[in-house]
Subunit: 473 residues, 2 copies
Amino acid sequence: MSLDNINPSVKQAKYAVRGELAVKAEEYRARLADGDKSLPFDSVIFANIGNPQQLDQQPITFFRQVLSLVENPVLLENPDVLKTAFGYKQDVLDRAKALLAAVQSVGAYSHSQGAPGIRESVAKFIEERDGFPANPQDLFLTGGASSGVSTLLNIICDGPKTGVLVPIPQYPLYTATLALLNATCVPYYLEEDKAWGTDVNAIKQSIKDAKAAGTDVRSVVVINPGNPTGASLTADDIKQVIDIAAEESLVIMADEVYQTNIFMGEFVSFKKRLRQLQQEYDNVELVSMHSTSKGMVGECGHRGGYFELVGFDPLVQEQIYKLVSIGLCPPVVSQCLLETMVNPPKAGEPSYELYDKEYSGIRDGLAQRALALYDAFQRMEGVECQKPQGAMYLFPKIELPAKAVEAAKAENRAADEFYCLRLLDATGVCVVPGSGFGQKENTLHFRTTFLAPGTDWVERIVKFHSEFMEQYR
Amino acid sequence: MSLDNINPSVKQAKYAVRGELAVKAEEYRARLADGDKSLPFDSVIFANIGNPQQLDQQPITFFRQVLSLVENPVLLENPDVLKTAFGYKQDVLDRAKALLAAVQSVGAYSHSQGAPGIRESVAKFIEERDGFPANPQDLFLTGGASSGVSTLLNIICDGPKTGVLVPIPQYPLYTATLALLNATCVPYYLEEDKAWGTDVNAIKQSIKDAKAAGTDVRSVVVINPGNPTGASLTADDIKQVIDIAAEESLVIMADEVYQTNIFMGEFVSFKKRLRQLQQEYDNVELVSMHSTSKGMVGECGHRGGYFELVGFDPLVQEQIYKLVSIGLCPPVVSQCLLETMVNPPKAGEPSYELYDKEYSGIRDGLAQRALALYDAFQRMEGVECQKPQGAMYLFPKIELPAKAVEAAKAENRAADEFYCLRLLDATGVCVVPGSGFGQKENTLHFRTTFLAPGTDWVERIVKFHSEFMEQYR
């Protein structure tokens, strides 16, 4: 096989989050670990990906205590030692036993939609979040939200004639998966100067254009809170999207993995908003996705998550079941983790105090770092950044001198990619160019997480930027 | 969305292992659990899927002790208590520390190919197994072998003109994935009367026919030891497949997940055989797959595994990296489990004695059950079964009375499906009809695992079969 005869759809797919820059950053990391002193920095900062436990973030104790017990249930035979020597509380032991009863063994395949008992917990969580019922049969546990997106787009897409509305900028999983399926991405642009809000007129125009080009627009993706934008939608914003979906018979794919990463206002789920409008709309199909990788949980490596189907034809749901059954089941340990995430210790329970302290500590730390980074961007020449509302990222706009743009062209690179490569080479800080997420023509951005501890790395960016601007002025 | 407008390739895909029968079996299980006394059996036996820990099999202690520590590294702070109260040995503690050093946290995304340190262990395992070097850069850790198969077929296939040779009978993952990719399955029949051996003339004829039909045959799948057949290939058998692959420029997909489930002879890997012939063949592309789900490990729920690429173009390998990076990384706990599987305690090490006892106990138990089931099939009228050589399954041929075939037709079912449904309804034993794996026209089979403990369920099959034969004689 060669590049000339492999599946051309794979060649088409792009995924910048783990692309050239990330590979180069990993090489720098390995060189530093091997004692290489020739680099102009002493650590690599992976700000290219929302991977909190690669950086500073410690896992939440309750989750990991429970998981240690489901991995080795023999530990449960000596509860007193667990308590006295290791500080495990009774609710940890009880939870582990309940999970083992639900899955039998974390080494056994579960139901392909996830263990029924765990789906019941997730349904309860959704009910409490939204004030509307949820049915375990409509829940599909997944290996991270990514695999759920892949499943759903596989169902929706039937070649190039199928169009899916994707916000620009977007998390590149969507465009990459559409490329793999040889389906058509129908972009709609977010409004940067309105804090990256969703512009329903832009969606309508995109639908109109796509239809004129013969595309059958079947679905609209919304990422809320936004990745890479950090925007958080209001109940009104969400209603407007639902209005369009009802009018145009679009399946709403609501990527809500950052639902607890909110700094301003409060999170409103698409499910809740749809149910509030249900008398008006009984024909809207919605899928809502969640994950154990984000929020204050940050357990990316466990690959856990779920999606909920609302308003789907039962026969289509059967096809989705068949599709996921081919992959057998999501990792069972991650299902257990998901259960602890949706059903954490409650006030008055033995593990609550520590859980609450850890959870709040992570939440407050993230908010502080987001604002500190935002402040730093305010100080930088030619950089404009929307105030963070949610998620784990900032997506500043950068205006680069004409000479820098020319230098990039000479290297056959996009100007933002050129900038990010220079930043990495000079400082060890790895961010992702805006072109990896999509951006309006003649604008440049980059995405950075605000997960890395300390302020040193932020100062590295500030210093680099000022020198870069001087160099190419 | 409705059945009329979803992706037709999804509708085409079939996966009987978790199909109608499995769903019905799960319903029976739930009814029994709810206290339903109306069924003619008191337990459901899931012999439809190789899922050892759902049945009798206990996990191997060393693996789970290590995993409990990587899930909660705080436990490592009190090594004496781990040893005295819970029997953890020093090598367990050391291994957990080494794995944590390799992955940092099991909650962090790893490298998309899997943590480099773990890939090094896998490479060493392959070197020791085959006597030829392996390169960690050619290894891709996966979430079970299934996701590896999906990745590779995604790379190889480019629509209906691409053909992939699949043995019949086969594990339906292959035909299902080809259906999803809208590629062409080119079947080649295994020789039942030669213990389900691989007939190279059958492969050659299939290639010839496919080419005549305009199909570009790109790859050949070999499952060794065989699923569902239980066959184990000799070094000569393997050479013959390599010969054809070299002649016809086929990528060999060697599904070797049952490589330690061998009852007769010894396992020879495709990689080893290819390297032995390397002076003759330097142009053969091979991918070899392995899993933590099978063997004596049986940790299906953890979703771990790997594939190794041999002789691949580096530019194609880059595309494979990009493809897996879209899904971020395989579950990190499963990567740790894989490491313990390929690098288990060695003679003289503290955990060796127990490990060896557990491992041998599982191995011997599986061999005994395989033979006991084989013996039972010998006793049954109209049933013919090849002697088990490996894997976890028997695939007996059944000859049913004409009246039974008519009764099946009246229900619009294949005769083997009809038989398996009656078996489930009467006994609670769930097996999979041969039509789910493919079989020569005018033959009927079913696949059963031999994982369930005891002999009661085997006697249930024997009794049912004799009554069924009487009823339709």
